[in-house]
Amino acid sequence: MDLFPVWLSLRVALTATALTLLIGIPVALLLARRRFPGRNVLEAAVVLPLVLPPTVLGYYLLLVIGNRGPVGRALAALGVELAFTWGAAVLAACVGSIALVIKSAQAGFESVDRQLEQAARTLGRSEWSVFWSVTLPLAWRSVLAGGVLAFCRALGEFGITLMVAGNIPGRTQTLPLAIYDRVQAAQMDEANALALIAVAAVVVLLFGLSRLARLRY
């Protein structure tokens, strides 16, 4: 059996999770701690990928990164092609899952007593240090939970991926796409095996998360 889709999906989901955490945490902090014009618009924009049909999202994304789109042309000028590569699959997974990281981390940051951060400031700590020594240590469980949910969502991403990365066996065919393909081709044994792998991966992750959640800090 060809396990390429499993490895590809793991690689895509891991990369996407790392990227969503990198971008999502600052955005979540911004939403949790600052009042600024356009904050409501940003909050709405963050949830949009959760409620829009994935194919619609994928369609617009393709318009942007395709060889006629603004980003696609800029990348082409640099000799990079994004559409229909595994990079596009990462982008699709990021778009599909970043809301989960942001929402979960934002709730975590909001639950941290601001007085603790103020205490840290009066004790001479910079904003950077306040984040690393107070805010994040007190909110890490929510951030981690968001990361795990995002990973699971990225692993299962189907619609957006199909639109922007295609379904090219051996190149961009991820696990969910491969399962769909096998079912279409009536190869039920392989579809079964791949589906079980997906279920196992997610169950192990969620179990690990619930164990971690029992730690205090």
Partner: protein, 372 residues
């Protein structure tokens, strides 16, 4: 020296205060919502005032006109928050050493150990805040603030998180710590006893303004106004009209009687006759006249009144009696005219339980006039 001049406007509330103090411990006293905590936050640099100037010692923390606004990190202020705001994920030792991150590892350990030792927290270094009692938490919060050797210590309702018996013990402990470390401090409280025990100078706040700033003894004996007297929850704050005022004495007409009070020579107050005047009488300074010693002597017993007990309350060591004067008319304080406090022993000797009608006298020095 601490000099504060602040204006901060919010919808429906404006803080506009000005006070200065040379003394070591300043108490900000007043009802909740008067702007005391807001003042602390401005002092610490956590909230930016709209206008004003803050000077602590030689350093200007804030000056709206000169465009100076030091961030909290540079003010070196030890802030003990209401509820303490200890870091729940850090041990006692880590909490106390938290403000020492700019020092070397060895220096940090040495300083933390010193603070832990001085505050009697030895043996608790590895505990987490949730594993400590209320009193220990207070000491950790103090230790964390004192470890950075602050230019000024701010304490926001430092005893409000504790229950009553502990409060009294810790109030005295806190007073000792403040004197022992001789760090200038500003303490916020809405409890007058607390303010009096902890502070040398008391600044009275009401709805965003300062209505009196005085050394504590002066405040106790000479509240600047009726409002101050009421915020201090003084008993028997009464209103009468002036009969005659001289630099030594003021005669007041109240409830159909004429009372004579001392006009304080340091603060001679000469209102014209017939003008309204507020005054207060401390309940422990009203004397009940013994019936077994003959008729009262007007030379000895001034401001003679007579009245009937309408209610009483036993506070253990003292009894509080509420009397209604025999004079006709509405009583001055709802159902009664005067509250009188007598020691338990006196209550028993005079058999007050049995005898409900009494003559009273009030020394003219015990009637305190309140300038309008």
């Amino acid at each position: 020296m601490v000099a504060v001049e602040l204006v901060k406007r919010y919808p429906g509330f404006t803080l506009d205060v000005r006070w200065r103090a040379e003394t070591s411990v300043v108490g900000l006293f007043g009802p909740s919502g008067a702007g005391k905590t807001l003042t602390l936050q401005c002092l610490a640099g956590l909230i930016r005032p709209d206008a004003g100037r803050i000077v602590v010692g030689e350093r200007v923390f804030f000056d709206a006109a000169a465009g100076i606004d030091l961030p909290p990190q540079q003010r070196r202020i030890g802030y003990v928050f209401q509820g303490y705001a200890l870091f729940p994920h850090l041990t006692v030792e880590e909490n106390i050493g938290f403000g020492l991150s700019d020092r070397s590892r060895g220096e940090r350990a040495r300083r933390s150990a010193e603070v832990i030792e001085r505050l009697g927290l030895g043996g608790f270094e590895r505990r987490y805040p949730r594993e400590l009692s209320g009193g220990q938490r207070q000491r950790v919060a103090l230790g964390r603030a004192l470890a950075i050797d602050p230019a000024l210590l701010l304490l926001d309702e430092p005893l409000s998180a504790l229950d009553a018996p502990l409060r009294r013990t810790l109030r005295d402990e806190l007073r000792e710590t403040l004197t022992g470390w001789s760090t200038p401090a500003v303490v916020v409280t809405h409890d007058f006893t607390e303010a009096y025990r902890l502070a040398d100078r008391i600044v009275v706040y009401e709805s965003g303004r300062v209505i009196q700033s005085a050394p504590r003894a002066e405040l106790l004996w000479q509240p600047a106004s009726e409002t101050v007297a009421r915020i201090m929850s003084l008993k028997n704050v009464l209103r009468g009209t002036v009969v005659k005022a001289t630099p030594d004495r003021i005669q007041i007409s109240w409830r159909g009687q004429t009372l004579e009070a001392v006009n304080s020579p340091t603060r001679s107050y000469l209102p014209p006759p017939m003008s309204p005047i507020a005054f207060f009488i401390r309940p422990e300074y009203v004397r009940l006249i013994r019936k077994d010693r003959g008729a009262p002597d007007p030379q000895h017993h001034m401001n003679l009144l007579s009245g009937r007990l309408v209610s009483e309350a036993d506070f253990g060591t003292v009894w509080t009696l509420r009397l209604r004067l025999d004079a006709p008319g509405e009583p001055a304080q709802g159902a009664f005219d005067l509250e009188v406090e007598v020691p338990h022993l006196v209550y028993e000797i005079l058999e007050i339980e049995r005898d409900r009608h009494w003559q009273l006298s009030i020394h003219r020095g015990s009637i305190h006039v309140l300038p309008a």
